[in-house]
Amino acid sequence: MTTTTDDTQHDSHADDHHEHHIPYGIKRWLYTTNHKDIGTLYLWFAFIMFLTGGAMAMVIRAELFQPGLQIVEPHFFNQMTTVHGLIMVFGAVMPAFTGLANWLIPMMIGAPDMALPRMNNWSFWILPFAFLILLSSLFLEGGGPAFGWTFYAPLSTTYSADSTALFVFAVHIMGASSIMGAINVVVTIFNMRAPGMTWMKMPLFVWTWLITAFLLIAVMPVLAGAVTMVLTDKFFGTSFFDAAGGGDPVMFQHIFWFFGHPEVYIMILPAFGIISQIIPTFARKQLFGYASMVYATASIALLSFIVWAHHMFTTGMPVAAELFFMFATMLISVPTGVKIFNWVATMWRGSMTFEVPMLFALAFIVLFTIGGLSGLMLAITPVDFQYHDTYFVVAHFHYVLVTGAIFSIMAAVYYWLPKWTGKMFHIGLAKWHFWCSLVSVNVLFFPMHFVGLAGMPRRIPDYALQFADINKWISIGGFAFGLSQLIFLVLLVKACKKQGEPVSNQVWEGAEGLEWEIPSPAPYHSFETPPFVK
């Protein structure tokens, strides 16, 4: 943590430095401490990772297009499912949210920049190396990680390739990056709010990110511990997870999911914040139940620490423990329900219009709720024994992560992109992107519920013949969803070239908040003198 203290000692110099001139070319991006530049870097990095992880999903769906083994070896298939998961979680969703936090939090609370700009630069620039290491391990002898993104021992210890060391190192770097990003968010929000920006006046995106940052600070170190134990078990002869040496493989799952379940909320709480910003704008009403939204977010975060073992119902837990984790899990649907109903109540009798960000936000509410309900089904201990490790689980977490987290990120990009570039994006392309994604994502993931209930296991490159037709449809949906994202790529490239109609400062008619009061495009330095919030 020495970098953090250094960082704050030097940041007055850094500020003096870049106020006078902005370096051009690659150096601008390498040396930048500007929250907007770093936000842009994070978002582009996340998008590139999204396409990379997506390409791996295409390999998976191509193999599953037909029963039998056609395209890839089972071992390579396992590497694809593993690295797809790791890239989407740590490379796409989390950096995208961090990018949005960088761009938006200072503008929303009236701060000139993030509190620790030098550390901000570090926390981004170590990320590409983490993923370079992870991806390069795929080309080594024995292949890359093939034990699932959850790296259960003994798959990741006794039965893994030597490249596991690179996997561990990559996860350490990703974790360090997230922790630094989270510390930055907390310090910024605690110390840099404009005068008059009291806690209960903060926009919900800022609130949800603050709570997310605390979750990151609490659980990313536990993940670092878990991968370290895997490393020493595999290479240095310890026996944390090896029964022969007095360890316990089930303990791995406890430690992993103690990190893993809060991690799930790390990937969805900022999404709740985004939707809470967008819905009031296009319903032209204030958000219904602001305070209850804040308390619901905090309760979800607290509950996330006591539900981890619902991932492990089939490990042979005592009945009392299964009941405890079942009821604790179901309890989470209460604050989540509060949020869904608040959004619906915000729209009730509002003057709704359906601009592209609103379309994504509405799709989020409907489809995330489907994912939430299938989660509630999985929480029921006795039926979980049937659903466990089937495509039903795959359907569940893709509904909450793709149509949940990723749709919210797309909604956020469409909502704030005109503010960032000063130009309206290509609305025609955006609508194509939305409708193609919406239809294909449901063709892709909805049938997985049925095929899972019928007993198709996840993470297997082959399947029983009776699942052939339905898998063909799933794969077609998958390819269509993958291609739809290329529309988004074209749109983003056009937007970055500053093509399109100029927009007003407010951009959207119903938009409220400090970020809509500064000019469009947002100037390189904003709120150098803090605004006063009434």
């Binding site: 203290t5 007055s12 510390i183 605690f190 240095f236 026996s239 029964a243 022969a244 430690i255 990190f259």
Partner: protein, 193 residues
């Protein structure tokens, strides 16, 4: 507020948050001994004590008869034959019993084995007292060597009334490579450091 004051405030908060990060990293490792302590206290992991019990002044409860099953299993990568001479015994709580286990190394190499016990249902593990067990230490068998390994135990008369039947399973692991590498450190020792 001046920039200097602001920086001092930032530094203070960063240090606090960094302390939380370090604390949570430690907590991850603290989960290892905590897991064993909790499993022991609640008797949920079916892990009997790995040290020898002393058999003295134990009163035999003739009114109860407990059935104990013995199951043996070899882990993958372990080529030994391994079986219990007795499949099942009926014992009074407090009564000392002996069961012999047979192992044979049919290969042409020296192999070191370690048996790990597990009891089901889990709560019974707290009342299974072994005065002598091969599982307390590792076994080294020369090529083709066979061995009869004794295990002496008594069931604690405190065994809850509702348990009348339990199973003791031994899994035999091949630990030859771990032993020759000679870097074997028990998990809890690592966690303490």
């Amino acid at each position: 507020m001046s920039a200097q004051q602001n920086q001092a405030k930032n530094n203070k908060l960063v240090l606090k948050l960094a302390a939380v990060v370090i604390g949570m990293f430690g907590f991850g490792f603290a989960l290892v001994p905590l897991y064993d302590v909790l499993c022991d206290a609640l008797g949920i992991n079916g892990k009997p004590s790995d040290t020898a019990a002393v058999y003295e002044a134990v009163e035999v409860d003739e009114s109860r008869l407990i059935t104990v099953d013995f199951i043996t299993r070899i882990n993958s990568g372990m080529p030994w034959e391994f079986r219990s001479e007795t499949r099942q015994v009926k014992v009074h709580p407090g009564q000392l019993n002996q069961v012999n286990f047979y192992v044979k190394n049919p290969t042409k190499a020296v192999i070191v084995g370690q048996a790990v016990p597990s009891i089901s249902p889990g709560p019974a593990a707290l009342y299974m007292n072994k005065t002598e067990c091969f599982c307390f230490e590792q076994q080294t068998l020369q090529a083709g060597e066979e061995l009869l390994m004794p295990m002496q135990f008594y069931v604690d008369p405190q065994l809850p009334e509702d348990i009348t039947y339990f199973t003791l399973q031994y899994t035999l692991y091949n630990v030859t490579t771990n032993v020759t590498a000679n870097v074997k450190v028990p998990a809890d020792v690592v966690a303490m450091n």
